[in-house]
Symmetry: C2
Subunit: 346 residues, 2 copies
């Protein structure tokens, strides 16, 4: 990782509300075939009871369920907040251009086969970015699994999630380049009744990256803890700046950062087209900025829950409460290995 600021490392805030809290949604590639991405996106929105208009685009269908379909994007009303693209990779560029013409605010791109997939993919991803920048469009992806806004119960994903019942003024925000890991982490935390704000999977980050979403989460008064899964920070200085801002505001960032091994870094390159740099340098800088590193996805889930439930950890030593004597003995062994002090009970 090069830590010096790149010329292209802009610090401009990106307003993400039209993506994260849309009032109107279009599904391009809508479907009612079970298993089709477009069908899953629609089913998730219906299950969540999304109250705003849902526009469906499919040239081969006049209706899907009770809803009318339009044949082309040009048939959509102007100014829809977000379009979810459940379409093959080859159709993405034309659709992006059409969405820009209809002044759609944001696009969620599931399709893979861009920067992670060779020169043509890189060129096409740059074209996505060009269209988006020219139109001022927010883009999530490509090669992502979408997002879920739990506070407003808005899923923009084909992944089916268990119902998130926990509520509260202090929630966890999940920001991840990996969609699979974001979904697994969210599912784990839901099972433990940890209140979530949202999860966002950024994928290849053609336009918006984890750095944009973390800025948004830090500004969000309802987010107290941010769990991140990042293989490569494309704008490392901005991330470190955000981490320092989070600390000032009393928000804890916990980061799972695959790529400590050479093989892991090579894998990241083929995964989301990211070029991971010097892991140790990044780790030292981020830890100095107050970021806690997790080593496994399980540990990330545990740490996020602890950080949310115990904003200030007690400092006078460790105590163990156990129902089973053998569990207690195992925990005592673990405390010795980790160097945790167990003061006598007073």
């Amino acid at each position: 990782m090069t830590v010096a600021t790149h010329a292209d490392e802009t610090h401009a805030r990106v307003p993400l509300d039209r993506l994260l809290t849309p009032r109107s949604i279009a599904i391009v590639g809508a479907s009612d075939k079970p298993g089709a991405l477009g069908a899953s996106v629609l089913a998730n929105l219906d299950r969540a009871g999304f109250a705003g208009p849902i526009h469906l685009v499919n040239p081969k269908r006049e209706t899907i369920g009770q809803r009318r379909c339009v044949a082309t994007i040009d048939d959509l009303p102007e100014g829809i907040d977000v379009a979810v693209l459940a379409i093959p990779r080859t159709a993405v560029l034309d659709v992006m251009a059409a969405l820009a013409r209809r002044r759609v605010g944001a696009a969620v791109l599931f399709a893979a086969g861009f920067a992670e997939d060779g020169p043509q993919g890189i060129a096409d991803q740059q074209e996505i970015a060009r269209i988006a920048h020219e139109a001022g469009m927010i883009v999530e992806g490509p090669n992502c699994l979408g997002l879920f806004n739990f506070r407003d119960n808005i899923p923009l994903t084909f992944i089916e999630m268990p119902e998130a019942k926990a509520t509260g003024d202090r929630r966890v925000g999940i920001i991840s380049q990996s969609g699979a890991m974001a979904a697994v982490l969210a599912t784990t935390l839901i099972a433990r009744d940890v209140p979530l704000a949202s999860y966002v999977s950024t994928g290849n980050e053609a336009v918006c990256g984890v750095e944009d979403f973390i800025d948004h989460a830090i500004d969000d008064a309802g987010v107290a803890v941010i769990g991140m899964i990042v293989e490569q920070f494309r704008k490392p200085q901005r991330f470190l700046q955000a981490a320092r801002a989070a600390r000032v505001r009393g928000k804890q960032i916990i980061l799972l950062h695959p790529g400590s091994s050479e093989a892991g870094r090579k894998s990241a390159a083929t995964h989301t087209g990211a070029l991971a740099g010097d892991y140790q340098v990044m780790r030292v800088l981020a830890e100095n900025a107050g970021v806690i590193f997790a080593e496994t996805l399980e540990e990330l889930g545990d740490m996020v829950e602890i950080a949310l439930r115990c904003p200030r950890l007690p400092e006078r030593g460790t105590a163990i409460v156990a129902e089973s004597g053998a569990f207690k003995a195992l925990m005592l062994d673990q405390c010795e290995r980790e160097g945790l002090y167990l003061p006598p009970l007073s």
Copy 2:
């Protein structure tokens, strides 16, 4: 741990069939109050559809459900295979003496408050052992959670288990001083469809210890892998001899052995009255005998499953199959940390 053979370290095999595969069962302290131990034991047997006679003892009841109760143990027929004692600690000695008079084959003692609980408890536990030895009675416990014979679907425990559906000629036997850990491990393995032979929790081991049950498991042709949770081997030479016998027969023993820390050893003493000795000496000797050590209960479950499903591990390096790029990168990091070789795919 003293590794030299003690005078009392008898090598005689104990026939355990009347405990592990009983044809008739008595519940002393039978009940139908939800939550009462005696009620849970009976409910488990009924749910499992135990086909043999179940005798109930309760001086205050004439019937429980559709079954008749007898008032005293002396009212039981002679020669019942096993009695489950769901009674307070203070009643145990009298009941044991009465069971011996009725030539009951085995007793399962849940009550705590014996060798782990001071001089009177130690004396009372010695009295249990005296009665049992004189009568030739098998005893599981005291301070245990009982057992579950999954092959014949016979629960002798108040713990409710999920249904174990996996079957096979090669099964896992669980032998544990800790009842809670045995139940958690069994539940985990059932969830993963690992076929189980039985779990046995030995508790304070007044009469029968893990060494007796491991001998039985090694002689059992249907047991291929033995998962053990042991804080203290009371007959270490016998265990090491059993471990060598297991290796000769191609059976893998995997051991979770709390007590590597001084605090953990002290805890073991107050837990089941065990006096843990030199952890490192025991570890070296047991590893030389072919025993694999697990560090956590989760690892024990993983290792037991791997040992059962892959009796002979492939030796030419590691390969990773992943659906998610980020998971793959994490696994690559892990391989580097553990020193696992990843050969190029041919």
